[in-house]
Structures are given as C-alpha cells and as structure tokens.
Amino acid sequence: MDIQTLTFIIVGLTFALYIAIAIWSRAGSTSDFYVASGGVHPVMNGMATAADWMSAASFISMAGIIAFAGYDGSVYLMGWTGGYVLLALCLAPYLRKFGKFTVPDFIGDRYYSQTARTIAVICAILISFTYIAGQMRGVGVVFSRFLEVDIATGVFIGAVIVFFYTVLGGMKGITYTQVAQYCVLAFAYIVPAVFISIYMTGHVLPQTGFGATIAEGVAGEGTYLLDRLDGLSAELGLAAYTSGIKSKIDVFAITCALMVGTAGLPHVIVRFFTVPKVRDARLSAGWALVFISVVYLTAPSIAGFAKVNLINTVNGPDLQGVEYEAAPDWVKNWEKTGLIAWEDKNEDGKMFYSGDERNEMTVDRDIMVLANPEIADLPAWVVALVAAGGVAAALSTSAGLLLVISTSISHDLLKRTLTPNITDKQELLWARVAAAVAIALSTWFGINPPGFVAQVVAFAFGLAAASFFPAIILGIFYKKMNSQGAIAGMLVGIVFTLAYIIYFKFVNPAANNADNWLFGISPEGIGTIGMLLNFIVSYVVHKMTGDAPQDTQDLVESIRYPRGAGGATH
C-alpha cells in the first residue's frame, strides 16, 4: 500500500474514534459542558491536559526549532514544562478549591469587580484567539502534505471535526477525546524516534541515544553524537550545537515568560477545575507533566538525530555535497510543499547545506518532524502515523481553546455580566452558538492567515504572563490585595507587553535587535518584564487605596485549605 492510502486509513480511523467518544460522552448540563461536572480521574485529566497543551506547534515545530537553535532551543523545553511546577504548587489546588468554571470567574469574584472580570474576559479571548488560528493553520499544513488537498480544504475538514465534538460534548467530550488524542500523538512522536535512535546509535531509548556514540555504518561512527554535531557545526560555519548564540539575559527572560505564561494560560488552568478534589488537582498537574515529558524528553533527541541526518543526506558523509540527481525521494516530495528548496549557486549539480556563503539549501524547521521518518527511510505506516499524530495535536488544542472562548462568552460575558437571568439550558445553547461562531472565525483565519498570526502565537505566553499570572498569585497569596491594584496591574502588564511586541514586530521591525531591546530582552521574553511591572504596579496602587474588604479576605482564607471543596458551581 502506498503512503497516501495508509494515511487515509490511519487518519480516518482516528477520526472515527474521536467522534465515537464524543457521542458516547456528550454533555447534558452547563457543568458537563464547562468542567465535565468535576468528575474526571487525575490520571485521565493529566493525559487530557497534556494533549490540550501540546499543540501542532509542539508536535510539528519544536524539535525543528531545537535542531536549528541547539542549546538556545532549551528555552522551549524548560519553559513549556517548568510552568507546570508553578501550576501545581501555586495555582491549581487553590483555584480548584475556589470552585468556579473559568479564570475570569476567579478574577471577577476575588476582586469583587465587574471591571476586573471584563478585563479578564478580554485577555482570555485575545490569548485564545491568537493561539487557535495557528492551530487551524497547522491542521491545514498537515492535511495538505499527507492527503494532498489544498490548505483551505484541510483547514475545513479539521474545523468540521472539531466543531462536531466541541459543540456536542463540551469539556466532557473534549476530555475523553483528548485522552485518545494523547495516545495517538505520543505514539506517533515516539515510534519514529525509537527507529531513528536504533539506526543512528543502537540505543532503543532516544533519550540515551542522544548522548551515545554513533553506530557502525553511519558517518562519524564511534564519536559521540553531540561531539559530531558540534564538529559539523564548526566545519559548516554554524553556531556550536551545545552552546547558543542568544545572550544569557534573553535566554533567562524567554524561559521565564514561557514558564509563567504556561501557568497563566486560561485553557490550561481550566483543566484543574475538572477533577473532583483539591488533592486531585495537585496530582493531575503532576500526571500532566509526566505525559508531557514523554514527548518533551524525546524532542531534543529527535532534533539531534534529525540535524545529523539532514547534514549526512545533503552534504554526504565526506561533506562534499550530494548530487541533486542522486538525492533521496523525500527531498523531491518535500520540495513540492515548499518546505525545502535547493538553489545551485556554484552550478556543480550538488546540494550543500551550511551556515555561510556556501549554503544552497533553504530548509523549513517544520520538516524535521514531518519528514523525519522519510529521511530515516522508515516504513510507510510510520509516515502515516506521524500525520495522524500531527492532526491529533492540532485538534486537541483547538478544542480546548474553543471551549475557553465559548465559555468566556456564554458564562463570563452573558450569564455573569450582561444577562444574569438566563437559564442553564439557554446558557448551554449560547455556549454552543459561541463555539460555532468561534470555529467559523478561526477557520477563516486558518485559511486567510493575516501574515502576523503565526508570529503572534508565541506571544500569547508573554501576554498571559503579564496579565493573569500576577493577578491570580496575588489573589491567593496576598489576601489584602484589592481590585484597584489588580486592575491597574493587569492593564499596565498587558499594555506594556503588547506595545513592546507590536513596536518591534510590526511598527519598526528593522530595530528588532539586541542593541535596541530593553535590557537586551527580545519581544519573546518581554512578558517577564510585563509580569514584574504588573506585580509592582498592583502593590503600589494597593498601598495607596487600602485593603480588600473583610469578606474577600475571608474568601481567600477559605481557599487556602482543601477541606470542604465541592463541585464547581455558578
């Protein structure tokens, strides 16, 4: 069977599975729809959180980014996992005890203010929308390569599937679908990595293979893989793999913005409302990180293997370049998608990849995971599996984000602010309508991406770090914090971060270099400064306007211990 047919079969089977789960677990009440009635087992919830968390970007792009950035890519590895420590220790148990549906719920009630609630709703929608458009695009890219349809059709198929199980199942349907999606994506990520690790180093575990010596029959045999990478990098005029080129302060700031942003993302936080107990909320953050680590510990290995493999294939074992005519099929397959290109500058008919003027190749980082099975000459079913994994990653994250958007509108905006008298049934209907509209909008964005969408996705973290994180932390750990302080802090944090990003990315991109950056911190890391500003402004304004009322302080006292946690309520 050819790759095409196999891909249809495997992707089709996984779709059938997701839809069957959605029908089996459809939501009957708002509580089912928003938080699965708080009845999800912590291990299941951890797995669902992991699928929710790992987006098309994690699955498709992360290993590629690391392959090209080397040590500098560590910011994503540490940043996107370290946030779970903050979540487990500082946020999840308390928010679970608080017992509401959404992040704006917490902000609005804790700071006894509709203004605070509204700002939180706007931040939640802003963050989730920038994120989801990128996901729909990811679905489109995967489909267009593997099903050979155009990107618009690919996005459309993905939208129909997500629509079906988000609108029908709500959080309950999503949670169980995400468990299935996690299994598909983790399996699809690890199988090629194991094959490649065995081929390159003889190690079954890619994690240890990454630090091992290169196996017999592969160029550079007997040397440590990482030494080989550093050696190749030096020879080809690339930055050394195990040491980066980014400044220390920038690496520090980006890691911090990603960690804190992770802990402030509404679609991640809301997962901890779905477990029955406070203890389960702590545990479920731990399980989530276990399941995420399975993929995140594999990613740097894939990056290392893929980089060596790419150089071997393009430049040949003797580093003299390989005849284009003799290039393997995957080069030509992927040339069609525009993700790899060869320009014969010195007209010798040979391909050559390097970091200097000898370079003749344009290689998109996304190719590292998607084409990896082909580069390593793995069987066709592995290639099909990777397609199914990429789609699972994109669909699970889209569904989680859509739920946040629809909940923000039906619950936070309508029920809690504009029309408090609607019934449970009407609210559920509005949630479904909002989800449908949000899907339609994000499909449109996925098909017609305004150039900035892809770039903005990474900044959702900075925005979450600068807005939600300080407001929630102060809300839990500093009971005297008042509404004026929190509102001022959130506004200053998000406006500063947004302005800095917009200035360097869109207004004056020419100035986007270390000389012009504040303290040498790039727009990717500026959320860290936004977060600090938020904390400082909150504290100063609070000192000028007096303590929070006594009943709010009592409320904060009551979320600090687990006893008496009920199910999530209105």
């Binding site: 040590y71 890519g73 420590v85 680590s293 600090r560 211990y561």
Partner: protein, 88 residues
C-alpha cells in the same frame, strides 16, 4: 473555619509556604541556575556523553520538575492530614 484555632490555621499556611518555597528554590536552581546561569561552567563536565550544563537544560531540568510535583503532592497530603483539613 475548618481549623480548631486561629493559630493552627496560621501554622498550616506557614508550613505550606515554607514547603512551596523550598521546592521552588530547587526548581529555580536546576533550571535557571544549572541550565542557564552556570551552563558554561558545568559544560566542562561530561555526563553519559552529554555536557552537563547542556544536559540540565535539555533533559535534567524536566526530570526534576516531574519529581518536584510528586514530592509536593505527597508532602501536602501529609500536611493536610496533620492539620485535619484533608478532604473526606
């Protein structure tokens, strides 16, 4: 109030904060300390074929994060029981 007295409530919160701060100190040292600030110095040592600083940045810190959360879950459960504020 689930606590028998104001003092017990304060003591529980103090113990909780002290545990969280200790764990966050480890979290900070391993990732920001070993993985970023001291990475160049640590890279002179080799660990199973990895330069040590590089290993902390790409694998060691993630493994530590997982352990930290499970230690927290266990220690907090003990603390909840001690002060009798665990869930029934």
């Amino acid at each position: 109030m689930a606590f028998k007295s104001e003092e017990l409530a304060k003591a529980y919160w103090r113990d909780n904060i002290s545990l969280v701060l200790k764990l966050l100190a480890v979290w900070f040292i391993v990732s920001y300390g070993f993985g970023i600030i001291l990475v160049d110095w640590l890279n002179q040592f080799t660990f199973f074929g990895f330069k040590l600083g590089f290993w902390f940045a790409q694998q060691g810190s993630i493994i530590t994060f997982v352990i930290l959360i499970f230690v927290y879950v266990k220690r907090m459960a003990a603390l909840d029981n001690k002060y009798e504020v665990h869930e029934e």
